[in-house]
Symmetry: D2
Subunit: 227 residues, 4 copies
Amino acid sequence: MTQFNLLQTRLVEPNAAAWKDYTQHSFVEELAKGILPEACFQHYLQQDYLFLKHYARAYALAIYKSDNIADMGPSFTCLQGLIGGELMLHLGYCQEWGLDAQAIEALEEGVATVAYTRFVIDTGVAGDLLDLLVALAPCALGYAEIGTRLYSATSSVPEGNPYWPWVEMYASEDFISSVNNQLSFLEEKLIEIPLDSPRWAKLQRIFCTATKMESAFWQQGLAVNQA
Amino acid sequence: MTQFNLLQTRLVEPNAAAWKDYTQHSFVEELAKGILPEACFQHYLQQDYLFLKHYARAYALAIYKSDNIADMGPSFTCLQGLIGGELMLHLGYCQEWGLDAQAIEALEEGVATVAYTRFVIDTGVAGDLLDLLVALAPCALGYAEIGTRLYSATSSVPEGNPYWPWVEMYASEDFISSVNNQLSFLEEKLIEIPLDSPRWAKLQRIFCTATKMESAFWQQGLAVNQA
Amino acid sequence: MTQFNLLQTRLVEPNAAAWKDYTQHSFVEELAKGILPEACFQHYLQQDYLFLKHYARAYALAIYKSDNIADMGPSFTCLQGLIGGELMLHLGYCQEWGLDAQAIEALEEGVATVAYTRFVIDTGVAGDLLDLLVALAPCALGYAEIGTRLYSATSSVPEGNPYWPWVEMYASEDFISSVNNQLSFLEEKLIEIPLDSPRWAKLQRIFCTATKMESAFWQQGLAVNQA
Amino acid sequence: MTQFNLLQTRLVEPNAAAWKDYTQHSFVEELAKGILPEACFQHYLQQDYLFLKHYARAYALAIYKSDNIADMGPSFTCLQGLIGGELMLHLGYCQEWGLDAQAIEALEEGVATVAYTRFVIDTGVAGDLLDLLVALAPCALGYAEIGTRLYSATSSVPEGNPYWPWVEMYASEDFISSVNNQLSFLEEKLIEIPLDSPRWAKLQRIFCTATKMESAFWQQGLAVNQA
């Protein structure tokens, strides 16, 4: 994966504890070992479909917020990926897990699903394109980090692990390359912001809250088993 | 309290279970009996301050979404109440409970606080004025119902109950009259919608989700004690 | 072209005078006869490029405003057409007319360009998806009507007319079919609105204002010659 | 009037020609001499009422876009001024000029009215609070400059000038003090932006376009007489 200097040193590092909670959450650790309860994974998959729908809305918002055609490009690529294929793939993947497409559409969003998706959108509507891209960043960056790390972790158990295709997907070249595209664009925009400005402080708050909402999203999956 | 026919029969009644969960939540039942753990109430009060800030933003959004000056009126009255007094009163009330104003401003929003407030705002940005007003309705209507019910419930314990001023506030003539103003305006708008239209179905979904987010907000207060 | 009953009888017909001003404007009549001053056409082409950029933003907004993936489809198709090709084609077309790509990007928007594009966008942000689609409709519907009418009008002069490719483009099967797709989706949504509701009255006002802004856009092209 | 250093040197001065076109437009010069045709003034007054309605919407949008209660303050003061009084005063003023309140509400917006108001709003929705405040600035700053200059200009004719109350209003202490409040807040926000950043370049483009839309608004008033 490409190294994103500003993203790493100015958004991830000052936010280290929350970042670790998210990227090393029990949900993904158990998933990589194949010991995550099936009900947790199924619940997560369903909520993730609802999440992706609002994620597509957020990228459409980013296109609306772009000053010129060049700036529309990276968000359009993400939107195209989602509407043109990923959402359908996701439904297919859900069906392999015995989850019916129509049932998923009718599903109720969990509190953490609402919290994360609407936080991103309100941040994006109230702020500008950069605020929106920063609110969207923990998802792409974190999933790429989780995917690549778990794919080669000695603690991971690929064999006989029903969740291993999930790990492979988020460690795949295609996924990493799409993340690199998105985040390169963000990194270019971040360079324009002076490091000691109130603007950076705000972007850090946005990144930190979005990261915590990601953890809450994993937690929501785990909680199914505790209910 | 004024009877709002459409609100009652077309939004509250089809949503009866979720409405009961919200308006008869353990949080408010324990509060009325004076047995709610102090930590729960304090946590709720702080999160409620953060909630009110976004509630003010949502009413400002409603003004932006108004076609004419007359439609701006009811939302402006709410916004004026919040910015001109209630938010300050709330901070004062927090201080009586040993909660420092600056600490509250710096406070982190809970997942349920984010979920509820941003759901209302995204519903309002994506939809029109009516969608927004319906997303805002469970709060005003529910608090008025909770306040008046608990104020005269035989199960309530006013004497020596440190939370009783909270009950009195939401049963007060001032509060009820402000709720009546808001909801009368909403009721007028609802009359325009044919009862069997997809529009009503959507408004019901909005009202239902907002109601559930209210319950999650109470639950977030109770959870402090379970952590 | 497909017949759109509601669009025709409830939006175009009550708006007949403004619709005629727009679709039979001297700008397009002179264009079809090949007697439009070149400076007018060049100015129009440049402003139309700036227009299309905001048109893409408006379709992205429509995707953000969609409740589900199915509703995103028609707007995504339009957005994809614009970002994936039409904007580039338009720049190429401008270059054939001696207009430099970079110069166009740096161009200042005329008052009528600002008025039309931002009216559509504000209507869409303040209202819901249907308000936005109605604000976008006069453009697609009107250009299709203008293109097909002029293409076979006896008053038109195809031979030696430097503007004839413009007429051919807006009379082409590809264009008409894309307009049909968009407007079919709008027509489906319009069916849900009761004919005597305040909602229809509002949609008519939106359609009417957007139509007048289209006329102002032609007029802005003609005015170059009068300056 | 308070001196606003950044506003003056970084927004007005690089935009000197457009600023002069706006603040020394024939419309206000003729108005100060009492030679402006009555039909022009009446048309302007009516369109200005429609303008103020959207101006109120834009200030409501600024409140929605505020991160905290303190930032909401200045925009709330403007909104309160408009909804709580100025819009009514304006209607009253229109009536003195023989313009009926109901007729004004039903009035059609001119192209320049649409262009200016919707440009401000789209700039504000797409960008952040600062973008919105900069789009709003030429109005307050320009009217204060026009009012104070014309009030004491030797070329002005106060006696027997039916438009003199207009000059007096925009030169009044009340108006200047309200402008100072708004612009002080903006100036504080502008200080955070590094002078050679792309952000400043964008803010300058916004200020410049809004200034030109103001000129077009005067021109729209004058054009009545040429029609």
